[in-house]
Amino acid sequence: MREMIVNELTQATQELIREFARFLPRLLVMLIVVLVGWIIAYLVKWILRSILRLVNFDKLSEGAGAAQLLNKAALPSSTELVSRFAFWVAWLGFVLLGTSALGILGMQEYVSRFFIFLPRVIVALFFMFFGLLAASFFSRAALLWAVNTNMPSPRLLSSAVRVLITIFTASAVFEELGLADSTMLLAFAIVMGAVMLGLAIAFGIGGQHLARRFLESRFAPEKKEVKEGEDELSPL
């Protein structure tokens, strides 16, 4: 009996050693891939960082208001962030590639799914970036216009513009990522529809005078805001 146990053990151990020996090269390959991947990812980060510095990406993102956000969150600058993100994405890709070399079933599928998903993430990030940029720009433009034409509640208008654009951006991002896209789309449509309806009612009933004033200032510029008995001054 002792011999049987020893035999079984020996066989089992040998099996294990054999399996391990078969597995070892694959592990080696994976480690090599990971190492090479790290180097490449680092290169990508470095190149991307140089490019972004060249096109003054920081400045652009300042315009988007991203800089302020990042500052508040104690994150590094946009250039740095994007470069590091690129590094991690690249390296993760290589890691996954490496793990697929291990030949573990089921991993392949996850790996390929990841690589299919990746471009969409990048596109979504683009949308988000430019959407935020636009939201910030147009909300500020609306604010300045409202202040300079003496409209009431300019901040409200500015925020409304920012919210609208942000919602639109968010729904575009979600759709791109494929996360509950139809829900988001529907929600967006409902929100937009409600806002429009509300504005129409407000203008039509409640805001008659405001509407008239708005239209007048837009389409009948001869009627100035100067009251009766006032004289005209020209800044130039």
Partner: protein
């Protein structure tokens, strides 16, 4: 962009027929049929009276008017193909009109006029605004004679205006142009001015035409270009400033054309403006009474109201542009009662300088920076109106002069801001 692109084939053909000119008067138009007829006839009378022997041409750069503007301009020409008139003229006088390509814009129109002057080799040129209803024939003499004689290269006008007219010029554009560029040009944004042939060629070679800011604020960019180019400047008194219509009373548009272009010009000319601190007088030819004092009723309160709303509502924007001490100072004066309110010289100068520095650094979109200055300017305008309510012409001039000196004094702070912190 090459010169030829502003001259259509038709325009070029007309220029070939003119050939060469000694004097060129340019009139940029867009739907000005109400006033341009009278203006062009007056220009013609001036040319016939003061330059009867010189080869003169009136060049109209039109943006695509749908009214009778081009025909009215052409009607001023004198040639032998016409049925004989009573006009005593030694020579043919061409009065040509053609449309420039693209959308109507003063910048393109001026560029077309400059190109015409260059091709026709005119020695003395003038630009007259088509709504100068107060123009007299002797404006032609006053503007062009100093240039034609070769004494000066660039002649800007001086007008008889109400002491409260042209507040933006008096409170911002003139003092700043003077402080930055060192020449006391009282009307740096001129709708009538004269320049010499060589200066015109210099203008054409500038960067103005390829940048949005330059194209919007062409008039002041040309003035700055004449100053930085070291040309001989003078100003001459003309007469009453023409009454302007509502469109040009839009403050933001006016600021884009003046302040926007001014700030933009600081970039390439940094070496020039940062290296000196004082300013020089430029000769005033044929002086005249510049300030009239008829009583005007102005709604000052609205100005102050817009200042308040500007400071309050634009706070997040202003925080990106101005330094904290300046913002808090502004917020402080915003709390003052109307009769105590005062937007002082030093604060205003600092405000503008900080705006200039922020513009240079593009802390936010540059156009937004210019727009953000508008409500603050209104506060300053209010102060000016209040302080000069009872003033005479001389006192107004003195107040403006002291503000200018303040600007000059504080200029080094701008240089610091430009280079350093923030």
């Amino acid at each position: 962009m090459s010169d030829e692109s502003v001259l259509t084939d038709e325009f070029l053909r007309q220029l070939i027929n003119v050939g060469e000119a000694d004097i060129l008067v340019g009139v940029p138009t867009y739907n000005n049929a109400a006033t341009v007829g009278q203006v062009v006839q007056t220009i013609r009378a001036g040319l016939l009276k003061y330059f009867p022997r010189e080869r003169a041409v009136i060049v109209n750069a039109d943006g695509g008017s749908r009214d009778q503007t081009p025909d009215l301009v052409r009607g001023a020409s004198i040639n032998d193909a016409q049925v004989s008139t009573d006009i005593q003229a030694l020579r043919t006088l061409h009065s040509i009109s053609a449309e420039y390509p693209g959308e109507p814009s003063t910048g393109t129109a001026l560029r077309t006029i400059l190109a015409s002057a260059d091709l026709l080799r005119a020695s003395a040129c003038a630009v007259i605004s088509p709504d100068s209803t107060t123009i007299e024939p002797d404006w032609i003499e006053r503007l062009l004679r100093p240039v034609y004689q070769g004494t000066y290269d660039f002649v800007t006008p001086l007008y008889r205006r109400h002491k409260f007219d042209g507040l933006l010029i008096r409170n911002l554009v003139y003092p700043m142009t003077r402080a930055f560029y060192g020449k006391r040009v009282k009307e740096p944004y001129a709708s009538e001015f004269a320049f010499s042939g060589p200066l015109g060629t210099h203008f054409l070679g500038q960067e103005i035409w390829t940048h949005e800011a330059g194209r919007t604020g062409t008039e002041i960019s040309l003035t700055i270009s004449a100053i930085t180019g070291g040309y001989k400047l003078a100003q001459t008194f003309l007469g009453a400033k023409p009454h302007v219509d509502a469109r040009s009373a839009d403050l933001v548009a006016a600021m884009r054309q003046t302040v926007g272009a001014l700030f933009w010009s600081l970039e390439p000319n940094y070496q020039l403006w940062s290296s000196h601190a004082d300013s020089q007088v430029i000769p005033t030819l044929s002086p005249g009474q510049e300030v009239t004092l008829e009583p005007l009723r102005i709604n000052r309160r609205r100005l102050l109201g817009m200042f308040h709303s500007g400071v309050a509502e634009l706070e997040p924007v202003l925080k990106q542009i101005l330094s904290p001490p300046t913002i808090s100072e502004l917020q402080r004066i915003a709390t003052l009662e109307e009769d105590e309110f005062s937007y002082g010289d030093e604060l205003w100068a600092r405000t503008v300088y900080e705006f200039a520095a922020s513009y240079h650094k593009s802390v936010i979109s540059r156009d937004h920076i210019v727009q953000a200055l508008a409500p603050l300017y209104r506060g300053r305008a209010f102060t000016f109106l209040v302080e000069n309510r009872e003033s005479t012409g001389e006192e107004v001039e003195q107040n403006i002069e002291s503000f200018c000196l303040t600007c000059e004094r504080l200029k080094p702070s701008l240089v610091e801001l430009w280079n350093g912190r923030k």
